[in-house]
Subunit: 413 residues, 2 copies
C-alpha cells in the first residue's frame, strides 16, 4: 500500500462501492420498545379497520328509507326496538319501521343502514320522532373504510416514531420485526492516553474519542461497544483489533494514522485480512490521514486522534454506513443557514470543513463564528463547535457576511 490521496467525493464513492452496506438481519421486539428502530417488513393489515360498520355519532340506527321525507313538521314515527352498546355484538335487528338506540363507535345492527343523530330526534317512551332524513350510510363508518384487510400500511425501512407505532398497534401488533442494530466497536490508540475514571499518570491525558464516538454511534442508530484504550504497539494493537472485529459489525479507531514512526494503525489493520485498506488518505481538512478498510465483511474506519477531526470524519464517512446497516435511508445531518462572521479560508486543494459556533446577533441574525481547531484547544474546540461549514476544493475562502449552511453535530444544538 498506500498514501495515495483520494478526493472527498471519490472517498464517499469508494466507501459505498466497497462496503455495500446493508441490513444485517432482523429481530422481533415488543412494539413498546420499537421507537427509533427500523421496520424490517411491510406492515400489511390482517383485519378490516374498522372491523365492523360503526356509528360515528350518538343517535338511532335506522333503515334510511324510513326517514325519507321526514322534516320538522312531518316527523317519521319509528319504534325503538332496543339499544346497541359499544364494544359488543348488537343483540337487536332493526326491522322496517324500527330504530335501535346507538352510541358513537358501536356496531351498526343488522337491518339498519344509517344513523340519525340524537339532536334530530325526540323520544316518547318507545316511539321516536325523527325530524330529518338520512341517506344510506349517513353517520356510518363502513367496515374497512379506514384500512382494508390485505392493505399495506407501512413500508419496510420506515423509522418508527410515535405515529408509526400507533399505526402498528391499530393493526393489532404487540410485536414488530425490525432490523438488527449494527454493533460498532470503538477503540482509541496512543501511548499517552488513559481511560477516564482511572488516575492520571504523569505524562498522560484522558481519552476523549472512544467516548465521543460511542455517543455518536448511539445517535446514528448503532449499538456502541466501548473497547477502551490500546497502546501504540503492534502486538496489543493487533490483538485488540482482532477482538473488536470478532465482537462487532464495524470497528472504529482513532489516533495513530499520521505518518509518524508510531503510526502503525494502517499497516496493522491491513494485515488483518482481505481486501484490506482501500482508502489511505483523503484530500480533506481536517482528516487527511483517514484510513478505511474492509476486513472480510467488516468495515474498519481509522480516524485521526484530534477529537474534532475524529468526530467530524465519523459524521462525514461512517454515519451513513451505520445508518444503511441499520436499515435506514442515510440522512443528511441537520443544518441551518447562517452568516459567516469572518472570512474562512480553505486548505489548498482539499475539501475544508471549518468548525463554527453559532451566535445570535440581533442585527445580523445567526452568525457562524469559526472556532480554532488547531493543536491548542482540542477540548475547547469540541465544546464550542456547534457544527461546520463546508468549503469546496476549488474555492479559496468564504467571505465575511456570506450566507453559509452550517451542518450541525446535534439536532437542536
Amino acid at each position: 500500500m498506500f498514501r495515495k490521496l483520494v478526493t472527498f467525493e471519490e472517498a464517499k464513492e469508494l466507501i459505498w462501492q466497497t462496503l455495500q452496506p446493508k441490513p444485517l438481519g432482523t429481530e422481533e421486539i415488543p412494539l413498546l420498545e420499537a421507537t427509533n428502530r427500523v421496520l424490517a417488513q411491510d406492515a400489511i393489515s390482517a383485519i378490516d379497520i374498522p372491523p365492523f360498520s360503526r356509528s360515528t355519532v350518538d343517535g338511532y340506527a335506522v333503515k334510511a328509507e324510513d326517514t325519507f321525507g321526514a322534516d320538522e313538521n312531518q316527523p317519521s314515527k319509528l319504534k325503538v326496538c332496543g339499544f346497541v352498546a359499544i364494544g359488543e355484538t348488537p343483540r337487536v335487528t332493526v326491522a322496517k319501521g324500527e330504530v335501535a338506540e346507538i352510541v358513537t363507535g358501536a356496531p351498526i345492527p343488522d337491518g339498519a343502514d344509517a344513523v340519525v343523530m340524537v339532536e334530530e330526534t325526540e323520544r316518547e317512551d318507545d316511539v321516536l320522532n325523527v325530524y330529518g332524513s338520512v341517506t344510506q350510510n349517513e353517520n356510518v363508518m363502513k367496515k374497512g373504510a379506514d384500512i382494508k384487510s390485505g392493505e399495506t400500511v407501512l413500508l419496510a425501512g420506515k423509522v418508527l416514531g410515535s405515529r408509526e407505532v400507533g399505526v402498528l398497534a391499530a393493526l393489532g401488533n404487540a410485536k414488530v420485526k425490525v432490523y438488527l442494530a449494527p454493533t460498532i466497536a470503538v477503540l482509541s490508540t496512543g501511548g499517552e492516553v488513559t481511560e477516564p475514571g482511572k488516575p492520571l499518570p504523569p505524562g498522560k491525558i484522558y481519552d476523549i474519542n472512544a467516548y465521543s464516538l460511542c455517543a455518536a454511534v448511539w445517535e446514528s442508530g448503532g449499538k456502541p461497544i466501548y473497547a477502551g484504550v490500546v497502546p501504540d504497539e503492534k502486538v496489543p494493537l493487533r490483538r485488540a483489533l482482532e477482538q473488536a472485529l470478532a465482537s462487532a459489525d464495524i470497528v472504529l479507531t482513532s489516533g495513530g494514522v499520521s505518518v509518524g514512526p508510531k503510526d502503525i494503525i494502517p499497516a496493522t489493520v491491513d494485515s488483518l485480512g482481505k481486501p484490506g485498506v482501500f482508502i489511505s488518505g483523503i484530500a480533506i481538512k481536517p482528516g487527511k490521514p483517514v484510513t478505511v478498510a474492509l476486513i472480510g465483511e467488516k468495515p474498519v474506519f481509522s480516524f485521526p486522534g484530534h477529537p474534532t477531526s475524529a468526530l467530524l470524519n465519523f459524521f462525514l464517512l461512517a454515519r451513513p454506513v451505520i445508518q444503511a446497516m441499520a436499515g435506514k435511508v442515510p440522512t443528511e445531518l441537520a443544518s441551518i443557514k447562517a452568516v459567516a462572521d469572518r472570512r474562512m479560508f480553505s486548505a489548498k486543494g482539499r475539501r475544508t470543513f471549518v468548525m463554527v459556533q453559532l451566535v445570535l446577533d440581533e442585527v445580523k441574525g445567526i452568525l457562524a463564528e469559526p472556532v480554532e481547531s488547531g493543536a491548542s484547544g482540542a477540548i475547547t474546540t469540541l465544546a464550542k463547535a456547534d457544527g461546520f461549514v463546508e468549503i469546496a476544493e476549488n474555492q479559496q475562502f468564504v467571505d465575511a457576511g456570506e450566507q453559509v449552511r452550517v451542518w450541525l453535530f446535534k439536532e437542536n444544538a
Copy 2:
C-alpha cells in the same frame, strides 16, 4: 367544575403556572450511557488540560535562546542529551547547548522551553544542526492552555450529545450526574378498545393511543409506563388512575373526555385529589375537550380518543412539561417551510391545527397537503400526517399557494 373553554395561549400559561414543572432529582450514571440525558451539575475541571506542557510537533526540545540567529547557513550545533517518550515523565533535563529528541504529545523536559521541528534539523550522531530559530514556547502547548483546573466547561441543563460526552471524558469522568427522567404512565379508556396482541372480540377495535403516546413520551425524554386499556366504568377507572398516579410522575389518558354519558374521565380525575382539574376544554381544533389536572404534585393530561388529536395535543401541551421535568429547556418541534397545496380553513374562534402531508413538487417545491382527520380514516390520517399547520383564532383560512410553517411530528420525517 367545569367546561369553561380557555384559549390556547391561556391554556399554555395555566399549565406552566399551575404545574411549575421542574427536575425531579438526579442520578449518577456511566458516561457511556449518558447520551441524550441532561447534565445535572456544572462540569468543572479538576485538572489542567493538558496536565503538562507538551510538544505539538515531532522534533527536539531546546532552550529557545540556543537557536537565536540560526539559519540555513549558520546552524546552531547542539548536543542530543536524550529522548522523551510519549506518556512518560521525561528522564532527561535539557541544559544550555543541549536538545532532547521529542515526539508530538510528549511532555517538555525540564530546562527546555521550545521545540524545533524535525524538518528544520539535521542530525549526525549526537550532534544536531538546527537550521532555524524558535521563540520561547514555540511548538509547545502549555499546561492548562486548553482548560484550567477549576474552569467550568459545561453548564447544568445541557443535553449530552457526542461532543459533550467527549468533553466530560477529557476531564476524566467515567460517570456523570444527570437529571432523573420523569416516568409517565399512559392509559387508554373505552369499552370498545382492546389491547394489541390479544384476539379482537366482536364489536371491538385495537387500541392505538397508549402505544403512540408511549412512543412520543420516549421521544420527549420521558420514561413511558404502559398502563393498558381501562374500561369506561367508574370503579376500574378510578383504581387504574390511582395506580398510575402511584407509579409515575405524570399520567396521560386518552378517550372519555367528550360530553357523552360515558365520558367520565374529567369527574373521576378531579375526585382523586387537590387542586384537581384546572383546564376543562380549550378553544382549539382538534382537542376541544382536553382536560388537565394537578393531583397533589402530579400532572394528569386527558386527551380525546381520536389518535391524531391525542398525539397532537400531547406535542402541544404535555411535551414541554415532560422536557422541563427532564431538566431540559423545552424545545419547539422541528419545522420546515412549505407551500399550502389547498386552502385550509380554521374552526371559528378556535386555534386550528391542520394535519398535513409533505409532498415534493418539482415546480412548487415542498407542498403541505391537508390530510383528512375526520372520524373516517383515523389510522390513514395518522399514517399520512407528517405534521401540522397552525392557523390563528382570528384567521379564516390559509390560502392555496401561501407559505406555511409545518411543525413536524418527527425529525427527518
